[in-house]
Assembly symmetry: C2
Homo-oligomer: 475 residues x 2
């Protein structure tokens, strides 16, 4: 594509995006289509001869938006709602255009060093130790996996880097600990590391869905007595299901005395620690060995951008670093991003952080986080005030977990059926999209605010739709 | 950023990119800066108050390009040269704007299904089995890691998913096999999986740097006799160092009879299999259990886009799938991308493949691959004809491995020093960027063609610079 055609088509695409962002509500948030429907609209094989780019863009505009779940839609209130802000979208355009593969410092000096700068900016924003090191990965699942690989390496007497874990009669069973409410990425990381499902011991949460540090200590002691070797604990600041906050100070104390790696999953909740009134959520995190935080969740950058901080970069590097001849350089003592994980090539992901943090400023970031928390609190109040509805958990963040619960109904199975039907009806409207979870076995609807475009009117509409659906389901 | 500001800034960014792509040669391919220099130009903390976007773009334009290694520069001839083509850059802009997180079918129906369509298009393009399944990952290192996790799960009698590998006296030492020329990502995957460095046995390559299938069979038999449990073999079609092609048919035969998982690393070389005259490079690959191929290497899409194909998607899914309550859906029998690896969230990466394959067409893709191979062959001829230079390996692809070797010089250490100095001088020119490797202990310079903008004149200039540097170094 010659530069002048690129310019012409580029302007057309920018105009399309500007129009799209002006009013994502033109689209249903959750599209109305059946599995396989989109695929049937795409030919079975690539064309032999190249096609005019106009036609490709026409097809994009015609086929893709109606088959897309619109994460930009202000009625997107499911999972953790996110935002692709304007400055970050333009940063991604520049990232794609430069196409720097920052595996080595020399293959992307600006990409490598801006990543280091942005890590410092975020540590400063959150009041975490300036001495920590950080790298950007694609997702929190990958970050947690890398963190637990470092934890395994941290148990250096086991010499797993050289000997591995199989065929060793000298090696005890290794185990990781987390709340039963921890994210499934912890289970997945433990599987990938070859520790097996029994390699993760889940601690039942307390009434507020937090890990109980006393139970944790008991589990660790019990396992040690049984010959199991504990290696790491994962604590969560803002669980996925209910945004519960594990007691990190007590857990950190235990990890320090037991010699365990402490990984904190603050993927969603972390940014709220930048608010003075919520800084306490990060209490004890300065004693963590690693901490993950996802700017693509609640810091207004598009997928993908997950930050893994560690105070032991040497251990993380030891878990992964291997430098073949063709990647040796004479650049001296530089940070090469390829040494901090499985992925070799690295996108210039720091650019979008730079753009967003400068465009909003830390005050602007704080203001938007506060606005989301306020909106969710308001919605929570509406639910709590309504006799036939029940707020199941209080959140310090921007998530509300609740259900329809008419007075006197005690049949949990019936409540689950009714709430699942309510959710299905509400989502079928195409106006809002909420998701669900279970809280101590009770089916719950989950509303998450995280989109920059979400206003009170969207929550009012969601609340109307919910009450209408409850009325319809009951009659 | 309101939509009209986005539009205005978007047009400015598009114009910048169009100008940049018109002439990447304005910039040095390898920037002239010292480690830490870029970082010192960035403030130590984020601004409190938001900044005007004009100022942010001004800083980008002023600071980033001079500190960037320009992968778009036609003189980029290092590692594997790549191209961010215009249609793919615009696709990335749309991907960032839509910000679909395709972890579940329902969170990104078009993203999920277009990924399946593009997998079919690529299989068809390469003449690989249409029945295979594929998913897009960030890098080949991740794809290979996922493939070997599947291999470990494939040895299902070991029940590693439940029991893990530690603390098991019943579990033999597990081992993976690859040529000593295989990419370091194989080593890294084996480490991450917890098999340890001894979990990978490297087979010394033959004179053409190919894995020797007889030696492989001998190693497997020897290990079995010693109580080791072989689980997988990695074969490479186009090694990183010299683009050697392992004898996949013989390796596949051995894997079938030994019950081993065969993973083929065709990350760079794979696309050349679409050329009728080179289709033979994929011989035997239809019997592989998994195969990785990187469109971001030689199919003209920006980082990141690595495709992992497998004929055993059920095994891959078993290695990773874990569905917590909050991610269950009622969508029925759909493919959920989160089930095929560690990463949960997935970018809409298929969009850039759709744009590129349609824009170039399969004929256009083939033509460009052929042009790169032809250019490299020409450069190889120049080297071979020059008495004081030596081509160390012939390549079927677009890479030339060579060195300065004046007649009569037999001192390998002196040759290494001289060639390293030649390379350093050439790269210091800022006009071209080449990398190095070692071939059977001999230091070699490596020239890779893969950029859409590279023309014969760039190779002529590289050749001039090399000969000039050799002259300077000798005198």
């Amino acid at each position: 594509m010659d530069p002048e055609s690129f310019r012409r088509f580029g302007h057309r695409v920018i105009d399309w995006v500007a129009d799209y962002l002006r009013d994502p509500e033109t689209w249903r948030v959750l599209p109305d289509l059946n599995p396989g429907e989109f695929r049937r609209a795409v030919p079975e094989r690539a064309p032999e001869t190249g096609e005019p780019f106009e036609r490709i863009l026409d097809d994009f505009e015609r086929l893709v938006p109606p088959a897309t779940t619109h994460w930009n839609h202000p009625g997107f209130l499911a999972y953790f709602a996110t935002s692709a802000s304007g400055p970050a979208i333009l940063a991604e355009l520049l990232t794609a255009a430069l196409n720097a593969q920052a595996m080595l410092w020399r293959t992307g000096p600006a990409a490598t060093e801006l990543e280091q700068s942005m890590m410092s900016w975020i540590l400063d924003f959150l009041g975490l130790p300036a001495s920590w090191d950080g790298t950007i990965n694609d997702t929190a699942s990958t970050s947690t996996f890398y963190a637990l690989a470092a934890a395994r390496e941290f148990a250096s007497d086991l010499n797993i880097r050289e000997l591995g874990m199989s065929g060793r009669s000298d090696l005890a069973q290794l185990r990781v600990y987390a709340s039963a409410e921890a994210h499934s990425s912890v289970d997945k990381a433990v599987l990938a590391l070859g520790l097996g499902r029994r390699g993760l011991r889940k601690i039942m949460p307390d009434a507020e869905m937090r890990l109980d540090a006393t139970d944790l200590a008991r589990a660790v002691a019990e396992d040690r007595a049984a010959g199991v070797r504990p290696i790491a604990v994962v604590a969560t600041v803002g669980t996925t299901s209910t945004t519960a906050i594990d007691p990190v100070p007590a857990i950190a104390e235990l990890c320090a005395s037991e010699g365990l790696w402490l990984h904190v999953d603050a993927a969603y909740g972390g940014p709220a620690g930048a608010l003075p009134e919520l800084h306490w959520i990060l209490d004890g995190c300065d004693r963590a060995d690693s901490l993950v935080l996802n700017p693509h969740k609640w810091m207004f950058v598009p997928m993908d951008c997950s930050v893994l901080f560690t105070r032991r970069p040497d251990v993380l590097r030891r878990a992964f670093s291997l430098v073949p001849e063709y990647l040796t350089t004479t650049d001296g003592d530089v940070k090469n991003l390829m040494d901090y994980g499985v992925a070799l090539g690295r996108r210039f992901r720091a650019l979008k952080l730079w753009f967003v943090l400068r465009y909003f400023g830390t005050a602007g970031m704080r203001e938007r986080l506060r606005a989301h928390i306020r909106l969710a609190a308001e919605f929570g109040e509406w639910v709590a005030r309504e006799p036939s509805w029940e707020r199941l958990m209080r959140s310090h963040f921007s998530v509300v977990v609740f259900r329809h619960h008419p007075p006197g109904v005690a049949d949990e199975a019936a409540l689950e059926r009714a709430n699942a039907r309510i959710l299905e009806r509400v989502n079928a409207s195409g106006e809002v999209f909420l998701s669900h979870t279970k809280v101590q076995g009770r089916y719950a609807i989950r509303l998450a605010v995280g989109n920059l475009r979400t206003e009170e009117r969207h929550l009012r509409r969601a609340w109307e739709l919910l009450r209408q659906a409850a009325h319809d389901v009951r009659s």
